[in-house]
């Protein structure tokens, strides 16, 4: 009796594990098969080299570059915002702040990550963009800059929280060694703690990067949905995710080539986040070896 009960529980548990694995396999399968049939009609070379993305127009072009440039432009802006601010917060919390202060502020920061992204999107469109328009004359209502900045704000807690964990995981003796040599807090933080925790900090930035690449609502709302090959942050751009939303919500016929473009775009996105996750996994593994 007892044994059958154990068996049932074991079966249930492994079944739940199996669901997630099957889901992942299913997603990859759908992405791969649909994009495979897409690439039977559009050559991979055109897809990677054509500089225009106009699958919904009469003059059709299927070059992913404008979507990639849009994605990377917005992501770079986001990381450029989140990295310095997130790192400063992490260093302040780990090396300067009192424990009580840290214990109250850190959860509050993490609330930033809990704000629905659609709220961030409207924040970008209705607050940040008008503000930027005061500084940069001629800035359009939709632009990469505003979406990037707000996306950066969204990923600050990822950078600060994970980096702070990495900084605080350092043995206490390391900072004591530095203080004992007559170093100031600033020198200790920047010459000892940050280099020693660098792998953890790099991981936090890569994960924030991956999060930003996959982010959808903010860019769909504030960046403008215009696939232009540009590196000018004042331009309107379209990211891969925003394009997928645009097509999914539109009236594109199921099974048509236009419909399949979202899978081709999706698999491109998947490849990038997959690579980033693997890099961060690899860095983390090396980091663990180093300190054990």
């Amino acid at each position: 009796m007892r044994k059958t009960k154990e068996k049932i529980i074991e079966a249930l548990l492994s079944f739940s594990g199996l669901i997630t694995i099957l889901t992942t396999i299913g997603i990859i399968w759908v992405l791969a098969s649909e994009s495979f049939s897409f690439f039977r009609e559009v050559s991979l070379i055109d897809f990677l080299t054509d500089t225009e993305w106009t699958p919904l127009f009469t003059q059709k072009h299927y070059g992913i570059l404008p979507l990639l440039s849009g994605t990377f432009l917005v992501t770079m802006i986001a990381v450029m915002v989140a990295m310095p601010i997130g790192l400063s917060i992490a260093i302040y919390l780990s090396d300067y702040a009192h424990r009580k202060f840290r214990d109250t502020v850190k959860p509050m920061l993490e609330v930033l990550a809990a704000v629905p992204t659609v709220v961030y999107g409207f924040f970008a469109l209705t607050v940040v963009t008008p503000f930027l328009q005061n500084i940069i004359p001629g800035l359009g209502s939709f632009n990469a800059l505003s979406a990037g900045i707000v996306m950066g704000i969204m990923i600050i807690p990822m950078v600060s929280s994970l980096s702070e964990d990495a900084l605080r995981a350092l043995p206490k003796s390391l900072r004591e060694a530095s203080f004992g040599m007559g170093a100031t807090r600033f020198q200790t933080a920047f010459k000892v703690a940050v280099p020693a925790a660098s792998s953890g900090i790099v991981v936090s930035i890569i994960l924030a990067f991956a999060r930003a690449i996959g982010e959808t609502m903010i860019v769909a709302i504030a960046a403008g949905q215009q696939p232009i090959l540009t590196m000018d942050p004042r331009d309107a751009v379209e990211t891969i995710t925003a394009y997928i939303v645009q097509v999914s919500l539109g009236d594109v016929q199921h099974g048509s080539l236009e419909y399949k473009t979202i899978f081709a775009a999706g698999i491109t996105l998947f490849v990038f986040t997959f690579i980033l996750n693997n890099i961060s996994f690899w860095v983390k593994k090396r980091y663990q070896e180093k300190y054990e």
Binding site: S173, L174, E176, A177, G180, M181, G182, A183
Partner: protein, 250 residues
């Protein structure tokens, strides 16, 4: 000559009274050992001489610590300068995860010394003093973490010597090491005595007897007995000292 002086020192962690009215004088170029059971306050007391307790929440002290005639807890004293003069070696070897070379020059670099020639000279001199030079002279760019525990500890001593302190505080510097490394550290301490004033906390009474000129016995936050090491170990005046050194408690 009188180098270090503690005058009516009391210390607290929050409500915990960890040091009670300590008065003690330490002569220049001598080795002084602090012994006593765990929690007797000897490490806390050691760390008051370079103010390493400053960062501990709830730490508070009364009385004076005087080094070279100067009260070190005065407001105008720069704690960074104090620690360049009063170096410290810790219980567990704690080299920075950098190269051997970078470890030794750290103290100089944070003082803004950049001259490569000066740094190279200091590296060689400090490593020779710490009896590590012969073992590492061909691998100065290797990570300090690749060294053995005993070598790491000698590197930490070299790092401390590089900034030319006059006092070196050692907090159980050999407790994490094997017997051979321990005897190397002990020889080293003996040779450093010529130029430095050394204060060492140790759990190992044989070690205290072997290397120190004077020994202070702490118990429950009080300084029970302070005397020439030879006298303290052969003719302890206090019963608790006798009980401790004969192994009846602790």
């Amino acid at each position: 000559m009188k180098k270090l002086l503690a005058n009516k020192v009391d210390a607290y962690y929050g409500d915990n009274h960890v040091l009670k009215d300590i008065n003690l004088e330490i002569k220049e170029n001598s080795v002084t050992a602090f012994i006593g059971p765990s929690g007797c306050g000897k490490s806390t007391f050691l760390r008051m001489f370079n103010r390493m307790n400053d960062y501990i929440d709830g730490f508070r002290k009364e009385g004076q610590i005087i080094i070279d005639g100067k009260e070190i807890y005065k407001k105008k004293v720069k704690v960074e300068e104090l620690r360049q003069n009063v170096g410290m070696v810790f219980q567990k070897p704690n080299p920075f995860p950098k190269s051997i070379y970078e470890n030794v020059v750290y103290g100089l670099k944070i003082q803004g010394i950049k001259d490569k020639k000066v740094l190279a000279e200091v590296v060689e001199k400090s490593l020779i003093q710490a009896a590590l030079w012969e073992e590492v002279k061909d691998s100065l760019n290797k990570s300090a973490l690749s060294l053995s525990g005993g070598q790491q500890q000698r590197l930490c001593i070299a790092r401390t010597l590089a900034v030319e302190p006059s006092v070196i505080l050692m907090d159980e510097p050999a407790s994490a090491l094997d017997p051979i490394s321990t005897s190397k550290i002990e020889e080293l301490i003996d040779s450093l005595k010529e130029n430095y004033t050394i204060v060492i906390v140790t759990h190992n009474m044989q070690q205290a007897a072997r290397i120190s000129d004077k020994t202070a016995f702490f118990y429950m936050g009080e300084l029970i007995e302070y005397d020439n090491t030879k006298d303290l170990f052969t003719h302890p005046k206090n019963e608790r000292t006798e009980n401790y050194i004969t192994g009846r408690f602790g």
